[in-house]
């Protein structure tokens, strides 16, 4: 399982399609362009369980701009906007 992930290209979760599964590689708050400061955004993401190594799956998308997305992080589901999800680099 991990082997295949190692070979995959890294990408921001904010660009992932519905049905995407992957593992979080690192957080890059600077890339997100969120209204929050980098530190605040990163803290919040970690507080919701988005840390390196966590398994993620994009379960659902909204209608307008396919935003927000509902993401399975280990065993909970979190709704986030794509803008903030750009800070989560997955592979």
């Amino acid at each position: 399982m991990t082997d295949t992930h190692d070979m995959r290209r890294e990408m921001p979760l904010g660009l992932a399609q519905r049905g995407y599964t992957g593992v979080i590689r690192h957080l890059a708050a600077k890339e997100a362009g969120s209204a929050l400061s980098d530190i605040e955004l990163e803290s919040r993401l970690i507080e919701l369980g988005f840390v390196e190594g966590a398994r993620v799956e994009v379960l659902h998308e909204g209608l307008v701009g396919r935003d927000p997305i509902a993401v399975r992080v280990d065993n909970i589901t979190i709704a986030v906007r794509r803008r903030e999800a750009m800070a989560i680099i997955v592979a």
Binding site: S34, A35, L36, I39, L41, E42, S43, R44, I46, E47, L48, G49, V51, E52, G53, L59, H60, E61, G62, L63, V64, G65, R66, D67, P68, A70, D74, N75, I76, T77, I78, A79, V80, R81, R83, E84
Partner: protein, 623 residues
């Protein structure tokens, strides 16, 4: 020797069952629902342990950390750290976890350890965890964490027995050794390290089956479908408003005929005079005309409670996030706004979960535009008097459709106002992030729904018995005195104080088609919206004299033009007529200015909407 009161605090991630636990321990009936952010206030309760120790326990808003990002989270932080003025620090903090989802709570617990407060980890919802095949090595977990761990099932009888026993054991050995509080807000690397540590402990002590909640996944496939989900949401709202109108009717008819019979009985048994008039016109025609609406109020609360307990609210927020974003609203605003259909007061309180100040303020300002249950009596009364009860397209009740239209008008105007606020006042505004946990669905619990409805019904009746009753006494008095001079031929009410006051205001309201009777009803209606219905009941009952045993609806149909009726409906979509809502806005925004602004803008909208409606209706020949 009597031991001092033991102080406990319930801390934990949102939706982990803190309030359920609080209710189970203290026998209280605080609001419980299946979405994050239900509790936004501190609530204290008391109980006695099996060994007789007196305990004070405080329920707190859920939080993921002690950083205090929003007003509700600050309450929790300040209480745990003993910062709240004049507060005692808790002797023991119960850190409550949803056992199916331990990662975030264990990280919170590791953070809580730094405060130096004695801790217990409560693995709540253990029933669901067992059902899913999650097994926890409690002994090992306690050792790894260095705090006692206990399992609990807050919603089952006896489900808190272990916790009670542990509380006794701990309280016996709680030494007064002062502990160091080394807490400060965690830096990002510290946070990350704590989450790693939490994940390591969990992988050592908890075995998760590869069996996620498939039911939730299957329901979400429909409910969160980009298009299907919105259709489901619209359908739910539509059925809700149709039901309020159609299903409540039999019960309302029953209540109505009960009050009619009571009125007839009073008239038949009591001699003519002031007492008879007071009971018949003031109490029965006035207060009775409001109580008749109890079935509708119960129905709307039933719908909202079911949606809340099932776990739908967070989904609705997800679906509406971008759509409301177009109007400058935050996705988290959806739950407060939907609660405002019941009553704007809890709706405005619920905005505490919104961390961005501007988003929160916008939501507070528009919450009163959501059609609250107190408007139902006014709408229903006028609709049933003026709109024919026929079906359109074969299956939709026309009266229900008009009701739906009024709700839609409220929602639309709220969105427009929010858009204007964003456009004119908060220009330089980047959208605050929307991050929300979507909890697993739960079967609504009959008992909690029943308690919820009972509490609301009781509040409604209490209001009818106090605010509305006292307003009715006032109106009856104003409408009855001074008594007409002997030999007067006009109706007695024309000589009363009410008529004098009403006629003085009438010129102001004449452009929107309101007569002096409506003017009289609108002023005491400031206390609560339903009072207007009661006041009209009393004023027309007194005016009508003895024959006024008629229904208030029929009286209105014969005295008002259709244009006046429509204008009145338009008025009530906007009218700021609820003193308690204004008081809550003042408290939650901490400013008289915002309260005055809300009052002002709603009044202007009400007048403008009525003016437009009335003139258009007259032009179309409904005058």
């Amino acid at each position: 020797m009597e031991l001092p009161l033991l102080h406990l605090a319930l801390v934990g991630t949102p939706n982990s069952g803190k309030t359920s636990l609080f209710n189970a321990l203290t026998g209280s009936r605080q609001k419980v629902a299946n979405y994050p952010g239900v509790t936004v206030e501190r609530k204290e309760g008391f109980f006695v342990t099996p060994l007789g120790r007196q305990v004070s326990i405080v329920d707190l808003p859920g939080t993921y950390s002690l950083r205090g990002r929003s007003p509700d989270e600050e309450i929790t932080r300040d209480f745990v750290l003993g910062k709240a003025s004049g507060e005692i620090v808790p002797d023991l903090v119960l850190c409550v976890a949803d056992s199916t989802n331990l990662r975030l709570t264990i990280r919170l617990l590791l953070e809580l350890k730094r405060t130096g407060r004695p801790l217990v980890l409560v693995l709540n919802m253990f029933d669901i965890a067992s059902r899913r095949g999650i097994s926890v090595d409690v002994v090992r977990l306690a050792k790894e964490l260095g705090v006692p761990v206990v399992t609990s099932i807050a919603v089952r009888k006896g489900g808190t027995a272990d916790l009670l026993k542990l509380t006794d054991e701990i309280s016996a050995r709680l030494a007064s050794e002062p502990r160091e509080n080394s807490w400060r807000a965690l830096s990002v690397p510290e946070l990350r390290a704590t989450q790693r540590e939490a994940d390591r402990i969990i992988s050592d002590c908890v075995s998760l089956p590869a069996r996620p909640d498939t039911l939730t996944a299957r329901i979400d496939a429909i409910v969160l479908h980009p298009v299907g989900g919105l259709i489901v949401l619209a359908l739910i709202l539509f059925v809700m408003f149709q039901a309020v109108f159609a299903w409540a009717q039999p019960a309302m008819d029953l209540l109505k005929s009960g009050f009619d019979a009571l009125g007839a009985f009073v008239q038949a048994t009591l001699p003519d005079g002031l007492l008879q008039s007071f009971l018949q016109n003031g109490v029965i025609a006035g207060v009775g005309s409001v109580i008749v609406f109890l079935p509708q109020i119960i129905l709307i609360f039933l719908f909202i409670l079911l949606l809340e307990d099932f776990g739908y609210m967070a989904r609705a927020a997800f679906l509406m996030d971008r759509i409301m974003g177009g109007a400058g609203l935050h996705g988290r605003a959806f739950i407060p706004l939907l609660s405002s259909f019941a009553c704007a007061i809890p709706g405005i309180m619920a905005t505490r979960v919104i961390d961005n100040k501007r988003d929160r303020l916008t939501t507070i300002l528009i919450a009163p535009l959501m059609t609250c249950s107190a408007r139902i009596p006014v709408y229903t009364l006028i609709i049933s008097a003026f709109i024919p009860a026929r079906d359109v397209w074969g299956f939709i009740n026309l009266q229900g459709l008009v009701m739906f239209g009024l709700y839609a008008a409220g929602i639309t105007s709220a969105l427009v106002v929010s858009f204007l606020i964003k456009f004119f006042m908060l220009r330089d505004y980047a959208p605050a992030p929307f991050m929300l946990e979507l909890p697993d669905y739960k079967v609504p619990r009959l008992k909690s729904i029943a308690i919820g409805i009972f509490t609301r019904a009781k509040m409604f009746l209490q209001r009818a018995g106090t605010t509305i009753f006292s307003m009715m006494v006032l109106i009856w008095f104003l409408a009855s005195f001074p008594q007409p001079p002997a030999g007067a031929t006009e109706p007695a009410i024309n000589f009363s104080l009410a008529a004098i006051i009403g006629k003085a205001i009438e010129p102001l309201l004449a452009p929107v088609g309101f007569n002096w009777q409506i003017a009289v009803a609108l002023i005491p209606g400031m206390a609560a919206r339903e009072v207007a219905v009661a006041a009209l009941g009393t004023v027309y009952a007194i005016e009508g004299g003895k024959e006024a045993a008629e229904q208030i609806g029929q009286v209105l149909a014969s005295k008002w033009s259709l244009a006046t009726a429509l204008s009145m409906l338009a008025w009530y979509i906007f009218a700021p007529q609820c003193a308690s809502t204004l008081a809550v806005i003042r408290r939650e925004t901490g400013s008289w200015t915002w309260m005055a602004a809300t009052f002002g803008y709603m009044l202007v909208l009400a007048y403008a909407a009525s003016l437009l409606t009335y003139n258009v209706a007259v032009a179309l020949g409904a005058g």
